[in-house]
Subunit: 495 residues, 2 copies
Amino acid sequence: MASKEGKEKAQQFTLKTPKGTKDWADRDMVLRSRIFDTISSVFKRHGGVTIDTPVFELREILAGKYGEDSKLIYDLQDQGGELCSLRYDLTVPFARFLAMNPTIQQIKRYHLAKVYRRDQPAMTKGRMREFYQCDFDIAGQYERMIPDSEILCIAVEGLTALGIEDFVIKLNHRKILDGIFAVCGVPLADVRKISSAVDKLDKMPWEDVKNEMTEEKGLPIEAADQIGEYVKMKGGVDLLVKLQQDELLMSNESAATGIKDMEVLFSYIKSFGIQDKLSFDLSLARGLDYYTGIIYECVTSASAPPSDRTNKDKTSKPKDPDQDVSEYVGVGSIAAGGRYDELVGMFSQSKKSSVMPCVGISFGVERLFSIIKAKEDMSRIRPNETDVFVMAFGGGKEWTGFLPERLKISKVLWEAGIGAEFMYKSKPKPRQQFDAADKIGAPLAVILGQEEYAHGMVKVKELGLGENSDEGRDVEIENLTDHISRLLVTIKGRR
Amino acid sequence: MASKEGKEKAQQFTLKTPKGTKDWADRDMVLRSRIFDTISSVFKRHGGVTIDTPVFELREILAGKYGEDSKLIYDLQDQGGELCSLRYDLTVPFARFLAMNPTIQQIKRYHLAKVYRRDQPAMTKGRMREFYQCDFDIAGQYERMIPDSEILCIAVEGLTALGIEDFVIKLNHRKILDGIFAVCGVPLADVRKISSAVDKLDKMPWEDVKNEMTEEKGLPIEAADQIGEYVKMKGGVDLLVKLQQDELLMSNESAATGIKDMEVLFSYIKSFGIQDKLSFDLSLARGLDYYTGIIYECVTSASAPPSDRTNKDKTSKPKDPDQDVSEYVGVGSIAAGGRYDELVGMFSQSKKSSVMPCVGISFGVERLFSIIKAKEDMSRIRPNETDVFVMAFGGGKEWTGFLPERLKISKVLWEAGIGAEFMYKSKPKPRQQFDAADKIGAPLAVILGQEEYAHGMVKVKELGLGENSDEGRDVEIENLTDHISRLLVTIKGRR
């Protein structure tokens, strides 16, 4: 019974989910579950174990980890007790977990869970405020670049397993970027903000980024131009060779380390045979503060905005913050990650346990979903798994409708692990029962007739055969579950 | 690279998860996943389809649904925009979903997800502030008590499938309770608070409940005594017969409807053969406001506090709110639910679509986990699913360590869907590699030797055989994945 307070309030609110969130149901839910299963099985075959962390963390745990994006964190209200925030990603909670469990010196962990960002949503492109990330991370002290190369391998295998073919992994190295900024004369204190300007190169033309560097952030024009020459470079091993011949850059210790890393990485990538999927791209910067080594983003043709970004009329951006901006953006990167060797150390209480190098990948499920759904024949997806519809036929004044008998037969099927439903009606008509079975797509009917049931028999009939339909077959109740189990194997193999 | 702000803050916080929450990892995580799989498969065979709703709802959606427990709701901070709260259960979001989707007139939906309550945690007993619920609900206009009986059937099947044998389902009906309160002279306005006092009968003796009714809530002593006579009654069909003979109670319309419902329900329960698991118990009240028909709770011996509750020294309760109270409480009910016919209507904009009767069940996973873990041999659980450890043996100054070759062979295995790991080391020693394989429990090793590899061969060796270990077998690389797949079927069947 509803309280009075509740009934009065019922008139006052808008019936919706919060902004940037949505319900998942029906065939969408089945398709999304398949994406989870596909990604999990890739993670598992690379030795991953899974963990689960709380959806909110102590607020200080998240502080100072996300640079300019920190303003997008959802805070919980102070209701007395600890101050908490919803997690912004799965990486910082993983680092916190490692710091809390110093006996874990090596782990490959995966985690599929929701994260929260108070960002501008673009729902139809899979840009949400509540969305799933599927993360795989390798933590531990290992020989240079071996885990990094396996992570890139997982990126390729994951996207390929999901049926996505036309992707490219844009790859860069934070130490090379830092070296570029250094040799171009960016003061150390300004590196982070100049880096965050470069990060916008996939969303705005170079001229706008240059303006941001010089006018907003006070960088001399010559320095910006010199950076511009570097960040236009992309390629494969050829770019690596070019950088190795750049004496100015190689004289910078950070850049030289990053370039050596990339050389080693390229050799492993060749062994894995995934070099064609990679594009070494000096314009990739990644916004988050915590990366220290390789950084990368997987993009497809759906990642970019519909119109060529250099021609985009920026004034056409929606002004109403509640309007869906999906017409103006692409889905963005569908998977991304990098190396973060210092994040765990930020949480560690002792110097000794503070070194825990990590490298990881995160798949963006909603974005992948919007790409995969567009290619999928959704009508072929069955939202439920009911195998059998239990019916009763009869008639006349004497007919009871056989409800108790339908309950008994259903229970027998359930106990054998067979999915079964029946109509919640004492005396249903045959037509109603067939329609109900049809609606849920049950492949089999078990039909209880008065005379046959009295002799311990029921009829088993395959459904959905249309013109090829037959009369079904009488089966003894004591053999029913065996018979149906065998039949289901045949039918599922055939359909 | 960590920002300066982050590094400074790193010294200031406590390294922990928020109060009442915890990380799940390792074997616990595997066991919990098994519980999810078991419950989901029961839900699926009863025709369930799954949905997913956001972890937070607009605050007004939750208002007025939870009675006294509303104070336990977590609110999100007002950061501009909508006011939101974390979901308290999965039932109210489901009702909101139905109201938003009026074309859905019938649905059996299941939902496994976390809910949030700012309650006093008792972590070792599975009483958490963040915890999983596994819900199955049947919504739609159906013949009286048929879906209710299937829900009780699901309760029995779910707990049985989880290996829990010694449970009882305490069952009552809100309309009978309302009738009892009416005939005992409780004013209509006081029914909810008297009901919430009765609900505490599983945690405190009758005398305390009576005191709460009379002293705190102002009920006349005679009325309380009369209620006391009723709520002491429990049984099966015998109690039903007794109530049917109670002329005073049968004269009340609400009670008579509830008693008729129970009569119909008992007949279906008998058809399902689950009558032995049920205890018709007039003391069961359930705290939540929204129930309108049957209510029930599944309890086991672990549900009650360790000491007999009538002898409990109440002064021994911990006073520090941060202290774990698990020594003083049982795990409580392990599954519970009821009928709520008016909840969807509270959200509906039009009168017409406002009738959507629902009945459901919710399994409490953390509580089930604490019971199941206590009986489980946790050492037999393997946290990862790696099938093969790829090794290289060799020696001498010339030996390269075969890292590129190990990468190639691993990639071949991964592409065939076989779980594989290798040491992230250029020149690992044989002992190190066997130890690493042993640590993750890999059943097979693929060993690359210099000479064999040159001839397109590798060795495949079963691990973990102890004294029965053999030398392994040389296999051509081109037949490797077929050979391993067949071998794994044999090994997994045997182990």
